[in-house]
Symmetry: C2
Subunit: 350 residues, 2 copies
């Protein structure tokens, strides 16, 4: 199957699952319709990277093409939807995938209906609940994937670990934001758990475990997935500052306004002179940062060499991933597909 076709099948599995939940929710009350509408909008976007890595982890370990693995892989998109919805509440983000974030959407619903009380807490509450629903549904979809129980039993510990790790990573990410001076080292630890393991290594492991992979293959997938996952997140850091809103679905310089303590920022601060560092500390996380402020920070990130250092780090990690992939004991088809995904994850523009 081509990567495009997998994406199509993942989409079908995902939307099919949500469609089967629809009558249950509307049977409880037709007032739950906005929850479904918000989820439909969110799921219409997304690169489906985690399902793709899960699928190729499976195929790489010798699993055959069958609907069950697509369903199990697609369930990772519901886990990701949950993480995004809750992340946007925690970061007070206005947009996601080019649309209003879920909490802003419900805030607008409250405001437009002229309901009494405050609109913002209503929006946040609805988003917390929709995120919870997506998290519960991700497990439900995995269990309902129609793979043999012995396979699902092998995958469960990986799924469990992935969920725990990403939540730990998110907490460490928040802690990172509380540090007066984050270091490249602590920022990389967040990248490890919040992104490298969660986005790439564990999805690969999940697919491989479902297919009954050997410990050697599992290790080889880590040797490929962890550096690629780090490169993926570092690319995200760069796009969060320099990305084109039309491609990222987020306003220009959004990470700067949110004050994200990324590796890119840490690399910049390591290289900044006193005046530059002072400007970064003062303006980073200013919710009212205007285009001139974004431009000023971008200039510092470029002039210090922070950007170049980050790009070099991406290249280094991507090369490490390539080298690991070249010798991984996987099928040729999987190697080709993962090579293409490496490019998609690190050279992307949105």
């Amino acid at each position: 199957m081509s990567t495009r076709q997998i994406r199509k099948e993942v989409d079908e599995a995902l939307l099919g699952f949500v469609d089967r939940q629809r009558p249950l929710l509307l049977g409880v009350s037709d007032e739950l319709e906005p929850m479904l509408a918000a989820l439909d909008t969110l799921l219409a976007g997304g690169k489906r990277l985690r399902p793709a890595f899960c699928y190729w982890g499976w195929r790489g370990a010798g699993g055959d093409a069958r609907p069950g693995i697509v369903t199990a892989a697609a369930s990772l998109e519901l886990l990701q939807a949950s993480a995004l919805i809750h992340d946007d509440v925690m970061d007070s983000s206005d947009t996601r995938r080019g649309q209003p974030s879920v909490h802003r959407r419900f805030e607008a619903l409250h405001r437009e209906a002229r309901w009494p009380g405050a609109a913002a807490p209503f929006g946040e509450g609805a988003a917390i609940l929709l995120g919870d629903l997506c998290l519960a549904w991700s497990g439900e979809m995995y269990e309902a994937s129609d793979l043999a129980e012995e396979r699902l039993a092998r995958g469960r510990p990986v799924y469990d670990l992935m969920r725990t790790e990403v939540m730990c990573g998110q907490y460490l990410d928040m802690l990172e934001g509380t540090r007066a001076t984050g270091t490249v080292e602590t920022a990389l630890r967040v990248v490890q758990y919040k992104s490298a393991k969660y986005t790439i290594e564990r999805p690969l492991h999940l697919g491989a475990a479902l297919a009954g992979a050997s410990p050697e293959l599992t290790e080889a997938l880590s040797a490929y997935g962890l550096p690629l996952g780090a490169a993926f997140q570092l690319r995200d850091d760069v796009l969060g500052v320099f990305g084109d809103p039309a491609e990222t679905g987020k306003p220009a310089g959004d990470d700067l306004r949110e004050g994200k303590r990324t590796v890119l920022v840490a690399l910049t601060l390591e290289r900044a002179n006193e005046a530059q560092a002072e400007t970064v500390r003062r303006r980073l996380g200013d919710p009212d940062l205007d285009p001139a402020g974004v431009a000023e920070l971008r200039t510092i990130i470029e002039e210090t060499g922070g950007l170049a250092a980050c790009e070099a780090m991406i290249d280094r990690h991507a090369a490490e991933a390539d080298a690991a992939l070249a010798t991984a004991p996987i099928t040729a088809e999987a190697r080709d597909a993962l090579t293409a995904l490496t490019v998609a994850a690190t050279a992307r523009r949105g």
Copy 2:
């Protein structure tokens, strides 16, 4: 097993599960220790009602005493912990089970550490993540309960339904708060999903499904569990207004300050004259409601007959539950235990 002994075994299973997660979290980073400490504190309290109903649903359907069912039942406490943590964020509640709520706890951690940035969003973010972790762990604990796969497969659809229903119920509860005038009917619909099904009917069904109960037994458990669940929530409504803080673990009149649109409030408004209704609408949900304001609202709830109507409704539902229990096709031991739980759920003081 006595109810006290089940509680002890549920506690052991629950704390044992969390203890096995501890090294994983601390292996990621020792900075995750506050997450574990917050969870330990929360789990030290609680009546373990849902595990008890699940256990007696199992025994009532002929299941024998074995550790697996205790573990599966105890996993419901993690689901409940998740719901409480997120509910407290959504309601901005300061306390839970006589302790600071999780988000307030992390807010205090941020403040005491004098970290830069705002303490309140940090507290809320940490609570969202800890609630997510508990939700993920509830499913993980259920799957790891060591019951035979054919049993777990029968229980999964019940677990799935319970999670979806409680999240729907929570959303409807929020919507209820946006209505200028809630009715007894709409408030009872929230009770149905947020409490009656979630706290009693579905836990009973889960235990029964794990034991392989017949459809007749499952129906009989609904005939008992739904009215009992309604009575349980109505008792909660009364305690939220008239309860002793030493027994409820919440400040006096907390539900009034939070502006909860309960059945008790709806029954009061149905019976209130214009002046009384105006006072209720004006003061309900006032975060600065002082003891005099609480007393004023309590007087209205009593004088209108709202309280008496709510107590009568509790009695009626409890009697309905008793009658259903008397004829349910369950073991004598389970009938005795559930009779005791009926009293614990409806005549409790905290």
